[in-house]
Structure formats: C-alpha cells, structure tokens
C-alpha cells in the first residue's frame, strides 16, 4: 500500500487568486486611511472599505478582495466570509443603476407589486436581471425604512418615495 503525501498548507498561507491586487488613487487611499483611523482594531473597517472598493470598481471583484485582505491584514477567506453575509455587498457585476424596490409589508399593501411590474415592463427585464447595456439591475429587497412614504425604491443610495407610474418614468428617464 502506497502512502500518499498530502501537503496541508497552514491557514496563514496566502491564497493565490491569480490576480494582482487592485490599486487606488491617493485620494481614495486617504479616504481609506480616515476610516482605518476610527478603530483600535483595523478589521472593523471592513464594511466601509468594501463600499469604497465597490464604488471604485463597480463590485467587489477578486483584485478588490485581494486589496482588502492586504490592507486589513486578514486572509482572503476572511474577506469573502464577510462579503457573502451582507446583501449590499456585490461579488458579481451589477448594473450602473441598481433599482431596489422595497417589497416588505407596508410597501406591499401600498402597491410595491405595481412598482416592480412597471419597472420590469419599462426596462424589459425581470427581477434579478440586468439590462443588456449594463445600465439597470432590478431587485426586490426587504424593508428600507421608508414605510410612511410607500411605495418606494432606492436607486443606488438614493431614496425615491411615494412612487406612481408617472413618477417612476420621470425618475428613470432623467438618469444620465
């Protein structure tokens, strides 16, 4: 019986993602430094930094992940572990404008279904899809804290409330 030698790498071994870490402008680096300075334990800055990487690169891509692992002095798996927990962190490309229609109770009873339907028809995509030109992604999300001004959606970080079909048309048509 032959013995097969198995090499078990120590956990601290860097994972090779096959990509180079992302780089950012001095301004962005300074912004990142300001976040890191807030905490006695730098890992705490993981979510604020993920949002910055997303803003700069469109989504949290492997070079961005590698950058964060280096910057926060943690393993690549630590970054993935956190990234996959939070619904606002995207590990796949999404549209330039992410339309997030609130579907939870107050919005639902005030007509969230019609908002989704209208967006879906207008953009020619179903919930969860992105338009072919990469401009719009349509999602249904849970409560966004806008219940008194239902129905509503968020595009990126912008709140759009008390929506009607006309208002939705105006908002979407005005986007650059």
């Amino acid at each position: 019986m032959s013995t097969q030698i198995v090499n078990i790498q120590p956990l601290s071994q860097p994972v090779d993602l096959g990509v180079e870490a992302a780089t950012f402008s001095p301004e962005v680096e300074a912004e990142i430094d300001r976040h890191l300075a807030k905490y006695p334990v730098i890992r705490s800055a993981i979510l604020p930094l993920m949002f910055i990487v997303q803003r700069e690169r469109g989504y949290l891509d492997p070079p961005g992940v590698l950058y964060l692992a280096n910057r926060l002095k943690v393993r690549v798996t630590d970054i993935w572990e956190v990234a996959t927990f939070y619904s606002m962190i995207h590990t796949q490309p999404i549209g330039k404008y992410h339309i997030q229609v609130c579907k939870t109770l107050s919005c639902k009873i005030m007509g969230a279904g019609k908002v989704t339907e209208h967006c879906s028809q207008k953009l020619g995509i179903k919930v969860g899809e992105t338009t072919a030109d990469g401009r719009f992604t349509l999602s249904e999300v849970e409560c966004l804290g806008s219940c008194g001004t239902a129905p509503m959606f968020q595009i990126g970080f912008d709140y759009h409330e008390n929506l009607t079909p006309e208002k939705i048309d105006q908002i979407l048509d005005k986007l650059p």
Partner: protein, 429 residues
C-alpha cells in the same frame, strides 16, 4: 408624510420643522447642548445614571429594557476602555422614526451620546447605521465635524477634562445587525452573527470591553431628561413607561408619518381614526400591527371601542406590544394570510443562518406558505405551521426566531378565516 406631536409638547420632534434644523447653529439657538453643559458643570456620572433611572426611560429599539439599569451594569472598576454604541440599524419593518431624527436633528443624537459617554466613562463611541441610510451617515459626519470645531467633541470638551470621540460606521444590509450582539460582531468586522449572553455587552461587548448599545430614540431622549430632570420626564408618561414615544405610522391611513405621543396615550382607536386622519379611502379597519412586524397582529375589534392605552403595559393588556413603535395599519382589502406570508419571507431572508431552528424553520414556513398559496393547502397546514413555530419560538439563539414566530401565531389565531379558506377543510384554533 406628517411629522407631529399629539397630546404633548413636542420633545424629540421639537426642532424637526425648523429651517436648517440639522445645523449646530439652529440646535444651539433652540436649547441644544445645554444638557451637556449642565452635566459637565457639576453632575457626577452617577448623578446622570440616577436621573436616567428616575426617568423610567425604556429602550426604544424594541426590547424596552430600562435604560438607566442597562447603564448601571457597566463595571466601573474595569481597566478596559468602555464604548457607547448607537444602534441606528433601524430595519424593523414599519419603523422609520430614527431616520427622521438623524436627518433633521443630528446634534440631539450627538449630545445624547456625549452624555451617555460621560456617565459611562467612555472615550470612544460609534454610530452603527444601516448601509442603506448612507445619506444619514453623510449628515451625521457633517454634524460631528461642526461639533468638533465648536469644541463639543474631541479633546477637553467645553474646556473640561472630559474627552470623547464619536465615529460613524456603516452596516451593509442585514436586519440581524439590529440585535445588539450581532451589531457588535458586525462592528468588529465579522459576519453579523449574534453572540451568547451572558456575558452581556455591558460586561463584555465591543472588543470584549464594557459596552452599552442604545437605540437612536433612546439616546436622543437623554438631553431632555437631564434638562428637565428624570422625574419630570417620567411624569410626561406613566409610572413604568416614562416620557414620550415616537410612532412610525404606515399603511392604510390618510396621514402616515412619525408621531410623538406621551407614553400612555389613552386611545389607540382615536389615534388611528383621528390623529392619523382615519382610514385611507374610508375603508374599514381590519388589522393593525402596532410595534413593528415582530409583534402580535391585532384585530380591529381589539382596538375599536376598547380604549387601548398606548404604552408598554397597555398594549400587552390589549394583546400586542410596543416593540419599536412601527404602526402598520391594514384595511379590509388586506388578506392576513398574504401579509403573514410577506413577513415570513422577510424573516427567512434575514435569518442569519447561525442556529438551526431559525434558519431551517423560517425556510420551511415559507415553503408551506407558498404551497398553500399555489392551491396545495391541506387540512392540517395551520397546525403544521403552529408546530413549526413552536420549534422556533424560545429555541433559537437570538430573538429573531421569536420575532418570526409571533406574527404567524397571532395571525392564525386571530384571522383564522383568511387561512381556512385556503385549506381543504375547516380547522379549530
């Protein structure tokens, strides 16, 4: 949307209608930072905690734990740094009051946090805001910078020996992070999983140091408690529920919005039918969830003509609870089977996956709801759902499991007709 105080002088909503209410200048011209000055001018940390105890202020995030008591659990002799963390993760469906407090009156939160930090000998505070509220983080950052420049934040505040820094922090879309121990996990840069209690955060919280986590509305009540005295604040409400409370009203009313009421406001029916403008399109009231999605749903006949008192004890007596004060009003067109399915989907999505009863239970419940909706209802389905809920409630790691259970229990019990007609035969509740 309406923002108004009913039945009391506006306390938390005192400045929200003023022009540029978010600025330091307007805040100071309207009584702002007087409480901080009073504290630094001659109150000891224990004096502050005692005033808060006397006020009967209870945590406004949902659990309703007495704030003064929570503060007194922080060990004074601990050599570790102490932290004050503001829970601005407002994600309970139906709740949106903290959003307007931070948007319109950010300095009130800063002052409340500084007073809490003084009472607890804390030098570092964090405001944990849900990721979707990015615009509020921007508003808070501007306000913090204003305060820093005016000597109200940072080293030697107002020329005294008290130094304290407040930082904003962002979540990234996870309801569970409103649970205080999950919030602390998230703030440490981990997945937002709740932690075992004890040790409670007051003993071992952020970075294993003593930590107090308070809701925005709780902390913004503190400056007024200091200014008027704990006793006077308590008298605005009832003996066990001091002060005023903000209610976020949504759903089928003519005037949804944020309402400040004295604790113990005497009539929930009047609140819906008059103060909130009555039912939208003059339809009939069918149901109301008074404290955010996690509390028991109430039938109209538990409200109409029942003089339901709006405070912690009054709502429990009426068959529900205050929770976060997220008031969702539903008219006769709402099918409670569907509304309960909607909330169950919410809890399934937001279950963090840490413990089996909640992770598997909420998923199973959604499957049952979907099967029934698609015409596959079976006579014993109501019992199946109650059995599933019974295996979650009180058996999950954190209160999210209870929160997922209560809407279903109360809906099946109080609106059996909406379930019955989808199941092949009758059932008794």
């Amino acid at each position: 949307m309406r923002i108004a105080a009913i039945g009391c002088e506006p306390l938390q909503l005192r400045r929200v209608h003023l022009e540029d209410s978010q600025t330091l200048d307007v805040y100071r011209r309207n009584g702002g930072y007087e409480a901080l000055k009073k504290v630094l001018d001659g109150m000891s940390p224990d004096d502050v905690i005692n005033e808060v105890k006397k006020s009967s202020l209870r945590g406004r995030g949902g659990a309703g734990f007495p704030t003064g008591m929570k503060w007194s659990f922080v060990p004074k002799d601990s050599p570790k740094p102490k932290y004050v963390v503001c829970n601005a993760d407002e994600s309970e469906p139906g709740t949106f009051k903290d959003r307007y407090l931070m948007e319109r009156d950010p300095h009130m939160l800063i002052e409340g946090m500084l007073i809490a930090a003084y009472a607890l000998n804390s030098k570092t505070c964090y405001i944990y805001t849900r990721g979707e509220y990015k615009y509020l983080i921007d508003i808070m950052d501007v306000a913090l910078e204003e305060a820093r420049k005016a000597g109200l934040l940072g080293d030697k505040i107002l020329g005294t020996d008290f130094s304290c820094e407040i930082h904003t922090h962002t979540g990234a879309g996870a309801y569970i992070c409103g649970e205080e121990t999950a919030l602390l996990s998230s703030l440490e840069g981990l997945r937002g999983h709740p932690r075992m209690k004890p040790p409670f955060p007051a003993v071992s919280g952020l970075y294993a140091a003593p930590t107090v986590v308070n809701n925005v509305e709780t902390l913004t009540a503190v400056p007024d408690i200091i200014k008027m005295g704990g006793e006077a604040y308590q008298k605005l409400g009832t003996e066990k529920s001091g002060g005023t409370k903000l209610w976020s009203v949504s759903g089928h009313v003519k005037l949804p919005g944020v309402y400040e009421l004295p604790m113990g406001y005497d009539d929930m029916e009047k609140f819906i039918m008059e103060d909130c403008g009555g039912m939208l399109n003059d339809k009939q009231l069918k149901a109301c969830i008074p404290g955010g999605s996690s509390v028991y749903i109430m039938r109209a006949d538990q409200i109409i003509g029942k003089d339901v008192r709006m405070d912690y004890e009054g709502l429990v007596a009426a068959g529900s609870s205050v929770g976060s004060g997220g008031f969702i009003v539903m008219d006769e067109t709402v099918d409670v089977f569907e509304s309960t399915k909607n909330l169950t989907e919410f809890y399934k999505h937001e279950s963090c996956g840490w413990c089996t009863p909640c992770r598997e239970g909420t998923d199973w419940l959604v499957k049952v709801f979907k099967r029934i909706e698609n015409g596959g209802g079976r006579p014993d389905d109501a019992q199946l759902m109650l059995d599933l809920v019974d295996n979650i409630e009180g058996k999950s790691f954190c209160p999210l499991g209870d929160a997922a259970s209560w809407p279903i229990q109360s809906a099946i019990k109080r609106f059996p007709e909406d379930f019955k007609r989808r199941l092949s035969t009758d059932f008794t509740d």
